[in-house]
């Protein structure tokens, strides 16, 4: 059994380790290591298309995760106050946002937005006083909106679980001591749910940053990092992609460790 488990761990990590190793390969060859070099990192970092895609991904992931953290936390708190039936509807919709395949979310958002733009753009053009009316189009906004859907569901679920495990007694003690509900929230509840909000933010950031399929549909002419990587993989494997993959893996690992550390706080303080 031990041998089998060891084998599974090797299976999980060997491919990743090889990509990392070959990102430091001096030559172009993907099967023999011809010497240590960081040249592919240099090439990746000086590739303007790649850096543009990275910048887009960072902006999109940060914005959608921030929106998700704020609105998702508000929804998690608000849902506590809803009747059982309304809450079940919300639970169902949030579950749907996560269970419905990304490819369908991407398509549905694309189709709906294109219809809305087709309707709204002529109206704006008719009402606009100048010559160059603004045109709604796919881009940052549509990716952030579509990512916001599942990242918000993620944050709501994480924060809701934390709220459910909060001790009622401390909240009651606070109101017995004549604190207003807002003071109780700010001084008692918020500090306790803060780690899970931050963890939710980091996981939302990682999910949005890594998402390929939804962005593929709704990105318009904007390229995100996964879209760029996907396109260059299809043009042929280059060592530059190994360097990019390594950097992305290290960055997402760092975020995940922080997120898990924050989520662990919750179990130890209980």
């Amino acid at each position: 059994m031990r041998a089998l488990v060891t084998f599974v761990y090797l299976f999980l990590y060997t491919p990743i380790a090889l990509v990392v190793l070959f990102s430091f390969n001096a030559g172009r060859n993907a099967s023999e290591f011809t010497g240590f070099s960081t040249q592919w990192y240099g090439r990746a970092l000086s590739n303007t298309f790649l850096m543009e895609a990275l910048r887009n991904s960072l902006i999109i992931a940060f914005t959608s995760a921030a929106l998700a953290a704020i609105f998702g936390t508000m929804a998690a708190i608000g849902m506590e106050r809803l009747g059982a039936r309304t809450r079940a509807v919300f639970d169902g919709l949030f579950a749907a946002a996560i269970v419905v395949p990304g490819v369908v979310i991407g398509i549905a958002t694309l189709v709906a937005l294109v219809e809305v733009f087709g309707f709204v753009n002529p109206v704006i053009a008719a009402l606009w006083p100048g010559d160059q009316p603004p045109k709604l189009a796919l881009g940052y906004g549509s990716i952030i909106a579509a990512h916001g859907l599942f990242t918000m569901a993620l944050v709501t679920m994480i924060v809701k679980a934390r709220i459910a495990s909060l001790g009622r007694d401390i909240v009651e003690a606070s109101s017995d001591l004549y604190a207003t509900p807002f003071t109780t929230f700010r001084q008692i509840v918020l500090p306790q749910i803060m780690p899970s909000i931050l963890a939710g933010f980091l996981l939302a950031f990682t999910f949005s940053f890594d998402d390929f399929i939804i962005a593929f549909f709704v990105a318009g002419s904007n390229t995100t990092l996964p879209i760029y990587v996907f396109a260059s993989i299809r043009r042929g494997v280059t060592p530059e992609i190994n360097a990019v993959a390594t950097m992305v893996l290290i960055a997402s690992l760092a975020l995940i460790f922080i997120a898990r550390f924050l989520m662990r706080e919750k179990t130890t303080t209980n």
Binding site: R81, V99, V103, A108, V111, A112, M152, D210, P226
Partner: protein, 288 residues
């Protein structure tokens, strides 16, 4: 005049859930209604959608039957393959591993799942490609092995990508298992093997169900793994959808396929919940 307490309370609740409700409505409910409407429409001559009311798109689903057949065969096989590899690992982590090492070992299982599936699938593309494992095999005299762009490569990618998602729920249900039951079984003279089949396995079934349902549902909409490791030869519904929307611009037909895919996901989910209810005696299934 101050607002009555109940009204104020309701307003605050509405303000709290308001933004999320708007989001869910505008970016989930409305788009979904849109693709249902599209599925009954016609393809405009230059691509896209034009209004109509026809069942033609659904009648035409057979034109993409290969994608449906591949998905409906490879998704459950992939989930079963994940289960076979995952169960011993979950068992080891929950029952055999020492408590000090358990946390580290569990983290090591979860970490890959949280990193980019694109990058991890790319790693296999690299390994299975002509300059990877087949190149190494040439050194030992095995020539002309073709690994990439085969159903086997897709299956391997599936197991690799979704294994952590199968291990975790099984691990959680095995971890909750009451150790006293195992001791009692041993005290009553049961052999380890009959303790396993009589107690451990039945009590871990809810976790197995969750894992199988989760992996199957996610695989139904998979795009990257068949695209990168199947090279367009082994395609799933997700690949057909990308082709229909972004290449041939047949939106109504694509919408009909998307609606059918969601229907299949819902059916799988309902069946899984029903089985889980039988198995665990509870209607509650924590899928996420």
């Amino acid at each position: 005049m101050p607002l009555p307490h109940a009204t104020k309370r309701r307003l605050i609740t509405a303000a709290l859930v308001g933004p999320a409700s708007v989001w869910l409505f505008v970016f989930l409910v409305l788009p979904f209604i849109a693709i249902i409407v599209f599925a009954f429409g016609e393809r405009a001559p230059e691509g896209g959608y034009q209004a109509a009311f026809t069942f033609e798109q659904f009648a035409n689903l057979g034109a993409r039957s290969a994608a449906f057949v591949n998905t409906l065969i490879l998704a459950p096989i992939g989930a079963a393959a994940c289960l076979i590899v995952a169960y011993p690992v979950a068992y080891y982590l929950a029952v055999k591993a020492s408590p000090q090492r358990r946390l580290l070992l569990v983290s090591l299982v979860v970490v890959p799942f949280w990193t980019s599936l694109l990058m991890r699938t790319y790693a296999w593309m690299y390994l299975l490609g002509a300059r990877g494992i087949p190149h190494l095999l040439e050194f030992v005299g095995i020539e002309n092995v073709r690994l990439i762009n085969t159903p086997g490569a897709v299956l391997l990618g599936i197991v690799y990508g979704y294994l952590p998602l199968m291990i975790m729920p099984i691990y959680v249900s095995l971890e909750k298992l009451d150790r006293r039951l195992l001791e009692a079984s041993a005290d009553l003279g049961a052999k380890p093997i009959s303790t396993f089949f009589g107690i451990t396995l039945p009590l871990s079934l809810p976790g197995v169900m969750t894992g199988v349902a989760l992996v199957t549902i996610l695989l139904l909409g998979e795009y990257l793994i068949p695209q990168l490791l199947g090279g367009g030869k082994v395609f799933f519904i997700g690949n057909a959808l990308v082709d229909l929307f972004l290449q041939s611009r047949n939106w109504p037909f694509g919408s009909a396929i998307a609606v059918t895919l969601v229907a299949v996901v819902v059916i799988v989910l309902l069946v899984a919940m029903r089985i889980a209810w039988r198995v665990a005696g509870t209607r509650q299934v924590d899928l996420i």
